[in-house]
């Protein structure tokens, strides 16, 4: 079976805390994801995401606080704008937009964290590996 490689970026305040709660609640989820903890989802530069695809990720998950809940007031709105824009460009670069997922997961949503990860992993598994050849020049 194809085991996708997925990189997650999530903010310290909400989604990483939600992931910790999934842990303390001993929820089980797909192991394909490895997270990078940043202070806020707005730290994630579209270049980091494209870089992850270039280096072999089959999917990228961004997790932030729910709208209005960002620890830095408005960071997640910046994230939303950036990711929406990036998605429109991804197809042109040869990466299907649904390989990138942005989700709001709060510190209380351990269960949702586990569900999102498992669901996204299955979705990427179904899509199959991101073929390097299909990546257009600009992306690489």
């Amino acid at each position: 079976m194809f085991e996708p490689k997925i990189i997650a970026f999530y903010c310290k305040w909400c989604t990483s805390a939600g992931a910790d709660l999934a842990g303390t609640s001993r929820l089980q989820y797909a192991p394909n994801i490895v997270g990078i903890r940043v202070m806020c989802s707005s730290r994630v530069d579209p270049e980091h995401i494209l870089n992850a695809f270039k280096e072999g990720a089959d999917g990228v998950l961004i997790g932030g606080c729910h709208p209005g809940d960002c620890h830095y007031k408005s960071g997640n709105y910046v994230t939303l704008r950036r990711i929406t824009l990036l998605k429109t460009m991804m197809e042109d670069l040869g990466i299907s937009a649904d390989r990138l997922r942005l989700d709001w997961i709060s510190a209380a949503e351990g269960k949702r964290f586990a569900e999102v990860v498992t669901e996204f992993t299955e979705q990427i598994r179904e899509k199959g590996p991101l073929k390097k050849e299909s990546l257009k020049e600009e992306a690489v």
């Binding site: 990189i7 192991p31 903890r37 806020c40 830095y72």
Partner: protein
Amino acid sequence: MKKIGVFLCHCGINISATVDIEKAMEALKDYPGVAHIEDYKYMCSDPGQQLIKKKIKDLGLDGVVVCACSPTLHENTFRLTVKAAGMNEYKMEMANIREQCSWVHKDKTVATEKAIKIIKSVIEKARLDEALDPIEVDITRKAMVIGAGVAGIQTALNIANSGYEVILVEREPSIGGKMAQLSETFPTLDCSQCILTPKMVEVSNHPKIKLMTYSEVVDVSGFVGNFKVKVKRKATGLDWDVCNGCGLCTEKCPKKLPSEFDQGLGERKAIYRPFPQAVPNRVVIDFENCTYMQSGKCGICQKVCPVKAIDFDKEDKFVEEEVGAIICATGFETYSVKDIPEFGGGKLPDVVDGLTFERILSASGPTGGEVRRPSDGKVPKDIVFLECVCSRDPEHYLPYCSKVCCMYTVKHAMLYKHRVHDGQPYVFYMDMRTGGKGYEEFYQRAAEEDKVVFIRGKVSKLYQDDDKIVVCGVDTLSNETIEIRADMVVLATAIVPSKGIRELTKLLKIQIDQHGFLSEAHPKLRPVESLTAGVYLAGCAQSPRDIPDTVSQASGAASMVCTLFANEKLKHEPIIVGVNEDICSGCGICTVVCPYDARKTNLEKKLVEVNEVLCEGCGACAAACPSGAAQQNNYTDNQINAMIKAILGKGG
């Protein structure tokens, strides 16, 4: 190259049961940058910390990766460890292989592989970490307490008695909260008012406490040590500086309304003082129900006021306060009987909730402490108390235990019996939870001395039949169905967070749990702190609890505030975003995304300048900067990209 020490913790067997530590060590020992690798059963224990310190000194390590639990738990612990060994604390990184690995995967091979990836990525980050110094900022040594129930009152008094100024904000006209409504308190049965009102008076007389009742927080900015809080002071319809609380207006006002304080059983006027012992001793006009405000006629209060305090001014006022710490003590409400259709949905007057029964029992209540039922004033001879109403019922209502209902129901049954000697109280319970000093004895006394009948079971429905309430349930010990024709029923409805808590926590940037109670930084070790530095929690706002627990926690929160204020300067996290002046073109794109106005374009120099104290380090600007001139300390693009590579097996 940097010399990094990697320290793997077994966490007893919490990590080692699913992550093969030896295999991980084997896979990591030759990873670029790793100068030393070692494991230990409990890295956070003193021997564990000593081990790290020793290796830093002996081997001259200049980077440390602790592979253990979540950094939320022990980042600070290990930062202090490495600092004590002479290393810069920002060169210590934690790899979370417990919460985000060993606890969420069962397959050892899979978990070990994932742990290795996590650790490699963190080693990459550590390789590029730079020594940072915390940014020092001044502290405003003044606290704001939001909510003036017994929790807020206790916190405010403790802080003020330590010599610091406190602003106590309460949205009702008086302080006191729910405890002011209680009759007598378990397990000692001392009168609630008698133990609370002296504290209320102390608050109002305290030179260090500024009281703002009838007020609400509407905006919060800033950070620990330096918050700016905007408070709305709701219009009272009169000048409180002039009013002396004589109460003549409340006597003469012709407009009668149900009193909230008496849970709708007693009356108040359109101009009112919530209860006689209110602090401050002032009145407010209920604009929505005031005849003068609605039709321009009446104005009797204005005519009778001997000091001419009444001005009918409807303008809310806003004040800005600067404080260094905030305590959220907004308390609780009880689940409304109106929302419980199977128990009458609030339409049966003789089915009341616990707080209403407190008012009925209270000597200062609408019946003067005589137990009389609301419908016809008759003394109930058979009375049924239901515990766990909406609590511990995950399928229909709330899953959690409201903690105080067992004890207050025992109290209610007992106090009822003390007043109605020939009456019979029945209590339906799921389990009696009487943990607490003197609590079990209290319960035994109710059963043995006061002959309260305790029935283990649940009530499925109740209905009115003539002047009786028929209570239908099952005794789960004998498996018999039970029907009691009662004169009155008291529901111990669940404790829920106070209204508006969501909006307030958004302003304070603190988290709530799935039920709306405030989340603590750590359930065991940091129970009075929120995850946002400088914001603390006290009382039922965090979870249901009784007065002794509320007061202890309130004192705990106060001591945390005093600890904060005892610092000469505050240390601000240095993971801020600077500007590389050689690269910056002054385009100003970063200034647009900064939520704190920490970045300003200097048009003359064609450069962006950063106010390091204002920067909170979210990193939004770093991601926006098109040239790479804005880099976040220890979260640089190079670091993030190296982490990505390491996770995807291309690191090193």
